[in-house]
């Protein structure tokens, strides 16, 4: 569908992405190979698959599947589609489920409504997200979790930190030895 290089007709906006088309914090996918660009004036209804990175500055409805590559939704990008890719970077608007086999990044201008599955997830301050995130940190992080919970140290607490005092406690349920999530 995005075999643009064979198309002899001039297309409105299919070219190597420029850094100015994306946010200052977003790196260009060109660094890891070629990338197709869906420009701000382009609207696509349908499924997208392929073998190169993709930058979306326009509107896309359907499904996007680039298993081995990176999808970037730029600030002007508006996607109403499920996205599957190795790395997914979002600075625009996305409505749909997102599966990043390596990483998902929502930049500060990003607005995402959907469910995310990714081993690594980054959300920048200011980004808007509604939905669920499935995370699995792997063995290394589990080892960290297994360590005892750090107790608050009175001396280390700054004046600005609100300190609670107990007013009620001691429900018998609290003494039950069960785990929150089974097992």
């Amino acid at each position: 569908m995005f075999d643009k290089h064979r198309n002899s007709k001039p297309e409105p906006k299919v070219s190597q992405p420029q850094a100015d088309n994306f946010t200052a914090t977003a790196s260009t996918p060109a660094a890891s190979g070629r990338a197709a660009l869906i420009g701000p004036g382009i609207r696509i209804n349908g499924d997208i698959s392929g073998d190169e990175n993709l930058v979306i500055e326009g509107k896309v409805e359907g499904k996007i599947r680039l298993d081995l590559h990176q999808v970037e939704v730029g600030q002007t990008g508006c996607v109403n589609a499920d996205i599957t890719a190795k790395v997914i970077k979002i600075a625009g608007e996305v409505r749909g489920d997102i599966n990043g086999t390596e990483k998902v990044i929502i930049l500060r201008s990003g607005n995402v409504h959907g469910n995310i599955v990714a081993p690594r997830m980054t959300l920048e301050d200011g980004a808007i997200f509604k939905g669920s995130i499935d995370m699995d940190p792997g063995e290394e992080a589990k080892a960290t979790v297994a360590a005892p919970v750090k107790k608050p140290v009175e001396k280390a607490v700054d004046k600005a930190v609100e300190k609670p005092k107990v007013v009620a406690s001691g429900n018998p349920k609290e003494n039950k030895s069960y785990s929150l999530n089974g097992g």
Partner: protein
Amino acid sequence: MNSLNTGTAGVGFTPAQPPLSRTQQTLLFPTLVKKINPDRRLSVLEIGPALPETIAFFSQYKCRLHFAAMYTDPVLKMQSEEYSEAELAEEITRSLDFKTGTRFDMCLFWDFLNYLDDKALRAFNKAIKPYLHKTTRAHAFTVRTLSTSFSNQQYGIEQAHMFSIRPRQGKQARTTPHTQAILVNLLSNFDIDQGMLLPDGRLEVLMTASL
């Protein structure tokens, strides 16, 4: 200690932005964290918006983290209109948009329950019931006396014993603080296990599902 690195969150995240929030110590939340079995998937409902520090905190667990973003939901405006409890419950269910079969191990209500009037809180109680199990635990802020007010702020988890508090953008919705006694009547799916009085009059509570 009163500032946070809140720029970016995630496993292996990049250097942080300038601090934007203050922190609040919690003695109750660590008791929930201690109950997490790291070998099993944890299912968490965060009733507020997605914040970098909350994602960073839970990224150490194998978990599904659901951000409901209810503070900006239209249901907060609907409650003051002529909608029945059943209609509100239906709207809340639609807005929560949980997948069938979802059961939460931990619910983070923060002070959201105080933005619901009695009718809306009963509707919320009804809407959330199918997504609880008998050992679901919840964290919330309520009040000791009705004169306590809630600031327009949002919460995140910096560490097990430390919440982040950020000012919320936009106009604050009308609040309807509930005392502990009223809360347990309206939110009948939960019993309050423990409470901590905070210096500003809020009461931090841990609850367990009473299904």
